[in-house]
Amino acid sequence: MLILQIRKEIVYNVLSFRFAATYVLLFLLVLVSMFLMGNEHRTRMEHYTRTEAAQRNRLEELSKMPDASQQYREVNQEAFLGVRQPEGMSVLARGLESSLPTQVSSRQHWALVSSDDRLARNVMLDIFQTPDLAYVVNVVLSLLALLFVFDSVCGEKERGTLKVLLSNSVPRDSVLLGKWVGGYLSIATPFAVAVLGGFLYLSLSGAIQFDSEGVGRFAAITAVSFLHIAAFFSLGLFISTATHRASTALLMSLMVWICWILVVPNVAPVVARLAAPVASRQVIDAELRAIDREADLLHQAIRKRKVYGDEKESERIDKEAEHSKKKLEQFYEDRLTRQVTLGKNLARLSPSASYLFAVTRIAGTGSTQFDNFRAAVYRFQEEHSEYQRSFWDSNLVEWGSGGPTVKRDDWFDAADVPQFAMYQENFNEAVAAALFDILLLAVITVLFFMLSFAFFLRYDIT
């Protein structure tokens, strides 16, 4: 009985005009998105390999210098580059990938944007949103899912077919389940085909080098996308069972869609910023400077009292200043983390945000990428200052009137230069971390199906 129901639903959908139109649109959008994002990723990878190669060449050049003293001077002045490899899965979910720098310097505390960079980019990319798969699924497919299902119950009632159907000995639950499965299959199948086509394109054109982990991530992102579509499909079915006219159902669906997709997740971060304010970075920097200045004044006071200073006292002052600076930084970080968490939780009022968080987490382009990147930059710069300091400490260099003289000729080894390395979650960890959001999506899917079941049982078919 159920199978018959499903079959009827699929046949009805497939024969409809909207199926044809949706199918074409879906296929085009998914493929165009993967084509454009894939090619963009390839260009980024090319830039990355070129920068990386240039950096390696430079190291080689440095290690081949004949004059050790000259070599030391160059190494001492060199700003080494840390090059960040673009995340492969950003093709599917761009996330924060493009808002993080691709290279950092070992010298400046924070990599700075120079004036040319400010306008040396295509600003149209910033004005519009990135058309990655996550966007297509989140915005377009959720709308199409609602478009497919809004009249599945109330439309049949209007046409009168529901009355005829239920006059046979079909239980209402199997009718509803049949509608859900049939309708879902008729939107999920074209999507699956389109994604498969995109996958083939990406792997055959070499835009992404897929390893087993990459395939796993791709599959997981696709699976979460199916779940997201299912959530919106259930929502549409619920609206359809809660209304008695197709036009009403359509309007309600559109309204809920606007609120859930366009309003709630996008307003949430700003609301969080107001609810859990964080002082601007400049204020924190100014306070850090004030601590330094205070320590300076204390030092001066000591020098006034004692000509040769008081080593113990100075050390204590330095330590205290260091301590309060660390505390301030910690305070700033804590407040920022609180704000981020609040923003995330507020956004989760909409399944769209859960979907985006889950997908970017699996793709490795979510807010953890930001944290990892920040940690990596910090580590990279620390290691470099440590590296420079090691030459001082090892008494390698003698400073004369003609500049530095290096005692050993073979002091420099390119392999010793600290490299930029970013921690990346492996597939299992990423999925485990995204599980909460995936679960939320599943709960919403089931909840709305249950609601529609409750409403359909009491549905007035005449």
């Binding site: 600003v123 004005i127 377009v140 606007i258 366009l262 309003v263 204020v283």
Partner: protein, 479 residues
């Protein structure tokens, strides 16, 4: 007279429908919410801005050493009150830029903030009108012809002596009024809210900006509404027309503008910023080795250490340095030209969608667009130059003072009383440093910037309405 009747009928039809109620609700809630949130955000930004200015001013006034002027100064971009409506291109409402002599500008790092903000677009006026209101405009217009044809009302109506053009015009006016009425109310309320909650004064530029933003929304929504009417008079069934319209909406509003820049990026690829920097570095390194070689050759030829005494040689080296500078500027210039051409073509392709015209025009009208950004950077560069002049002037005062205290052996002897006197004369105080002054574009400038987009929107309006008219003239009444 007949027209008024048709308009009245259409208006009454709309007003009693559920979708009108939904439109009212969504308009009010979304616009007010966004206005409250963004205005409060703006207020926070005001205090941040004031604090930053004090910090940066103090930082300057506490300096006593001339050399510290070469380290530059940090300035803040003034707030733009229209940012409460249009967030525009810049990431934050406030921005502190470090200016150094010699045209060096250090912008703050963009990624060092709350990362969640980058994941979601902000819900401002442009987003609300461009996406949400355009969808509502379609929801109000999708069945204006096809549903009446389905229910047979249209047949009845046409059996009277009403010309078709009057019917269509009446439908357009009635439907458009029922779309714009709730929008206007919500808009006025949201402006009132932002005036109440912030210290923004409704004066000259701001008032004109708000008014022009409202007018722009009217134009854009009229185009979308006409599109709905056109599709409605092409189709026989309301369900078909909504399907087609939603798909058209997805393509025009969501797909085309977002994919256009990437598409153009494929066709007109850009070299990476890093490769340009590498190229420049290589040029510099080559030139340096060449200079060293030249100096060595010259030293060997003349067998003198001090080759700079030779006027001809020095001129030649300087000419070569000049040449190198020009070459490097050329590399930068060609990169800039490539970026501009990619941006320009992205804009052209994206303008297939009326949303692009609306968005870019709104950005410019709120002085938050590309033209404004270019002026901003130019003004920072000009400030950097005046800062350099100021630094050099101060340096000169200091050097003159040193020279005046130089004894016969060329040693500088400054007694502490001298120094005190010098300080007291305030010749090394930096309170007379040039201030950074930046004015947003005047309204006339902004208007001339957007004239092309306005024209495009008018063309879309006329085109869609004409198409609707043509297909309605040939509309088959009997099914």
């Amino acid at each position: 007279m007949l027209l008024i009747h048709v308009v009245r009928k259409e208006l009454l039809d709309q007003l009693r429908s559920l979708r009108f109620a939904i439109t009212c609700g969504v308009c009010l809630v979304v616009l007010m919410l966004s206005s409250i949130v963004l205005t409060r955000d703006y207020r926070e930004a005001q205090s941040t801005y004031n604090m930053n200015r004090v910090i940066h001013r103090n930082d300057l006034e506490q300096r006593t050493d001339v050399r510290s002027l070469w380290e530059g100064v940090t300035v803040d971009r003034p707030l733009n009150p229209l940012n409460t409506m249009v967030r525009g291109l810049s990431d934050g409402l406030t921005e502190s830029v470090k200016i150094q002599p010699g045209n060096r500008l250090d912008f703050p790092e963009r990624w060092e903030q709350n990362p969640i903000l980058a994941l979601f677009p902000s819900v401002d006026y442009v987003f609300i009108v461009g996406i949400i209101m355009s969808l509502l405009a379609l929801a109000l217009s999708y069945d204006s012809v096809s549903a009446e044809a389905e229910s047979g009302v249209l047949r009845l109506l046409m059996s009277y002596s009403v010309p078709r053009d009057t019917v269509l015009l009446g439908k357009w006016i009635g439907g458009y009024i029922s779309l714009m009425a709730p929008f206007t109310v919500a808009f006025v309320l949201s402006v009132l809210v932002s005036l109440l909650y912030s210290e923004v004064e409704l004066r000259g530029n701001v008032a004109l900006g708000l008014l022009s933003l409202y007018g722009l929304a009217m134009l854009y929504l009229a185009a979308i509404f006409s599109l709905g009417l056109f599709i409605s008079s092409c189709t026989r069934l309301a369900s078909t027309s909504i399907t087609v319209l939603l798909l058209v909406w997805v393509v025009f509003i969501l797909a085309i503008p977002n994919t256009a820049p990437y598409f153009v990026g494929q066709l007109l690829p850009l070299p990476s910023r890093e490769s340009i920097d590498r190229e420049k570095q290589a040029m510099e390194r080559d030139a340096l080795t060449k200079f060293q070689q030249m100096i060595k050759d010259e030293q060997e030829r003349t067998s003198r250490e001090d080759v700079w005494a030779d006027e001809a040689f020095r001129v030649e080296i300087e000419a070569r340095q000049q040449n190198l500078q020009e070459e490097m500027e050329k590399v930068d210039g060609s990169f800039g030209a490539q970026v501009r051409s990619q941006t320009r073509w992205s804009g052209i392709v994206a303008r297939i969608s009326p949303l692009t015209s609306f968005k870019l025009a709104a950005f410019d009208l709120a002085s938050a667009g590309l033209a404004q950004e270019e002026r901003y950077v130019a003004s920072l560069k000009a400030y950097s130059e005046s800062w350099q002049a100021y630094t050099e002037e101060k340096q000169k005062i200091w050097e003159d003072f040193m020279d005046s205290r130089r004894d016969d052996n060329g040693r500088v002897l400054i007694s502490s009383e001298d120094m005190e006197q010098f300080r007291r004369d305030n010749r090394l105080g930096f309170s007379d440093a040039p201030g950074y002054d930046f004015a947003y574009m005047s309204f006339a400038d902004r208007l001339s910037e957007v004239s092309l987009d306005l024209l495009l929107l008018v063309i879309w309006n006329i085109l869609f309405f004409l198409l609707a008219y043509l297909s309605f003239l040939r509309y088959e009444l009997t099914g």
